[in-house]
Structure formats: structure tokens, C-alpha cells
Symmetry: C2
């Protein structure tokens, strides 16, 4: 398999965690989204939505991190990241969706670019935007963990899709210097995950295209 990834993309980071947890060897192909390499014709031929990551498995090119992780869970089910228990699975998908649908999409690079280049917001307005959606989203995450979570991972003793989503999102919040003091449960999960070798291997700083 090949993973088209950008070190600092949190959707790529999610899939890197899943690959590492499953111990799946793959070739890492860097796509520099800061240089618009994800909009190049040959990349769009692989992934019409023009985002990272893309997973290549044989002659299949698959985009969208949640679709990729679901695919990996079907083709390489150990360890399962989407539980088979109906209620647990629902909780995992609910929390993952808060991150993947409510938080990340409004704070990613293309949105911040539009705010700056088209709407010409100030750096302070951009940062306030970022922190607003982080605060709203992580408050929801914290409340869901308080209600349904039981550590050390989001939902028990084994990592799931929820952890694959949470860790990159918290890493982004820290990088953007958001106040994370109101999310002790999420931060405890983050700390636990980052003590595990698979999560460490997936970190941006460990990728071949990393730049400080």
C-alpha cells in the first residue's frame, strides 16, 4: 500500500495512526499541500476531492480519512478500530464525527486561506475563528467523554477510530496555542495515546516530509 500524506495534515495523521496500530507496512508519499501539490492534475486523478490523504491499495485509490480507516478495518481487522458492539460503535462514530465533521473542516488550511486571502481577515480574527471552533468542539468532546468514555483510551482499554481522530485534533489545538485547560478527560486520552509506540510513529515530526 501507499499513503499519500502531508506530515502536518490531521486527516493524514488519523490514517497514519490506523496504519501503525494495525502494523501495516506502506510506502509514504509526501504531498505538500502548502505548495498545492494536492491540486496537481496527477494527484486529482488519484483523488478527485483534492485532499490528503489518499490510500492506494493495488489499483484502488481511496480518499477521505474515515472511508480509508473503515476500509482498513474491513481488510485488516486486527485490531478493530470500529467496534462490532452496536452501542460502543455508535459512541465511537459519534465522537469521531464531532471531530471530523464539526471541528476539523472549519479550521483546515483551505478555510484559513479563504478567510485570509478572500475575506482579508486580520491574523487576530483568524486566530479567534480557530479557537472558537476548537473550544466549541472540544467542549462537546469532553462532555461526550464524561458521559460515555472510560479510559485510558476514549472508550476503554483499546484504541478506536475516536482516538485516531482525537489525537491529531488535540495536537492541532496545542500547535495553535488554544487553551485546553477545560478538557482534562480529552487531554488524559491524548497523553495516554502519545505514550504508545504506534501513536508516536504517526506523529508529524516522525514523517519523512516533516519540516519544523
Amino acid at each position: 500500500m501507499q499513503l499519500y500524506s502531508f506530515f502536518n495534515s490531521s486527516t493524514s495523521y488519523r490514517v497514519r495512526i490506523a496504519l501503525a496500530l494495525k502494523g501495516l507496512d506502506h510506502v509514504y508519499v509526501p504531498v505538500n499541500i502548502r505548495k498545492f501539490e494536492h491540486r496537481a492534475t496527477d494527484y486529482l486523478a488519484r483523488n478527485p476531492s483534492g485532499g490528503v490523504p489518499t490510500l492506494v491499495d493495488g489499483d484502488m485509490n481511496l480518499g477521505q480519512s474515515l472511508a480509508i480507516i473503515d476500509y482498513l478495518d474491513s481488510t485488516h481487522p486486527q485490531p478493530r478500530l470500529l467496534p462490532q458492539d452496536t452501542l460502543l460503535r455508535a459512541r465511537v462514530l459519534e465522537l469521531s464525527s464531532v471531530i471530523a465533521c464539526d471541528i476539523h473542516p472549519v479550521n483546515n488550511l483551505r478555510i484559513l486561506r479563504y478567510l485570509q486571502k478572500v475575506l482579508q481577515v486580520t491574523p487576530e480574527q483568524k486566530d479567534a475563528w480557530y479557537r472558537h471552533w476548537i473550544a466549541e468542539g472540544l467542549t462537546a468532546v469532553e462532555n461526550l467523554l464524561a458521559r460515555h468514555g472510560h479510559g485510558p483510551y476514549c472508550f476503554g482499554d483499546a484504541p478506536t477510530l475516536a482516538d485516531c481522530c482525537l489525537v491529531p485534533q488535540i495536537a492541532n489545538a496545542l500547535r495553535m496555542e488554544c487553551d485546553i485547560s477545560a478538557y482534562p478527560k480529552a487531554m488524559a486520552v491524548y497523553a495516554h495515546c502519545n505514550a504508545q509506540p504506534a501513536f508516536q510513529r504517526a506523529q508529524p515530526s516522525r514523517q519523512p516530509d516533516y519540516t519544523a
Copy 2:
């Protein structure tokens, strides 16, 4: 079951389609997000992410439309909206994610409100924002359908999660008077779906809280 829904919410609309396709009776509980009823304490107790829809099944309250539809597919598998075939399932989730993660989150009510109230963009800037993300996202959808789709639904003769996501998104685009001439495949799927009684029952205008 109970569905907490707003007639004009496209995430609620997705779940209404799924419920209708599966023929599942439920009580419809309106939540007027224009009046911030989704931020009321009693609603947040049901759904800490403070969005619509919420599905209540027995003593379970579940938020997030994709998690809800996956749950319904587990508990009421006929007809299946998430195919069991690995590759088809991947394509369904990929296209659904383009809509649920790339298009809808940046154009929903809370974002448009922030643009207007906090960033004080003009009505023209707000409309341009909306149409920009619709155009970018539906171009991806159209290209994915061209590559992997085969009608009359997004992926063949049976509706899937992809159709549950596509129809409300196209309805939004039409409501916002976006140019949809570049998406004939998506529009053909939309027309086919809207000729089916289950999709018709889920339409905003057919909900008890509908207002023109």
C-alpha cells in the same frame, strides 16, 4: 424511537431519509435551531455536541447523522445503506465524507452566523463563501460519480448512505441558488431519488415544523 430534527437541517434530512427507506416509525420532535433550541440545557443533556439531529432509542440518545445512520443500519439492516462489499462500501463512505466533512460543515448555520455577526461580512461575501464551497465540493462529487458511480442511485440500483447525504446537499445548493449546471450526474441521482416515496417523505416541506 424519537428523532429530534429541524426541517431545514440537512443533517436531520439525511437521517429522515434513512428512517423512511427503512420504514421505521418514530416520533418527530422539532428543534428550532433558528431560535437556538439546540443550545437549551435540556437539549444539550441529550446531545452534548448541541446539534441536530438526535436519535432517541430506548434510553440511548445519539447525535451525529453518520453515527445515527450507521446505528440504524446495525439495528435495522433492511435495506442496508452501508454495503457489506468492501470496495463498494469504501466508495459510499468516500462520497458521503466529501459531503459530510468537506461541504456541509463549512456552510451550515453556525458558520454563516459567525461570518455575519463576528466577521461582519456582507451578504454578497456570505453568498460567495457558500457558493465557493458548494462548487468545490460538488465538483469532487461529480468526478467521483463519473469514476465510480453507476445510477440510478449514486452507486447502483439501491440507495445508500451516499444518497442520504447527496440529496439534502443538492437541495441546499438549489435553495441557495447555486449554479448546478456542471453536475449532471449528481443532478440525475437527485432527480431519481426525489421520485421515490421514501425520499419524498423526508423532504423539509413534509415535516411538521416546516415553515415557508
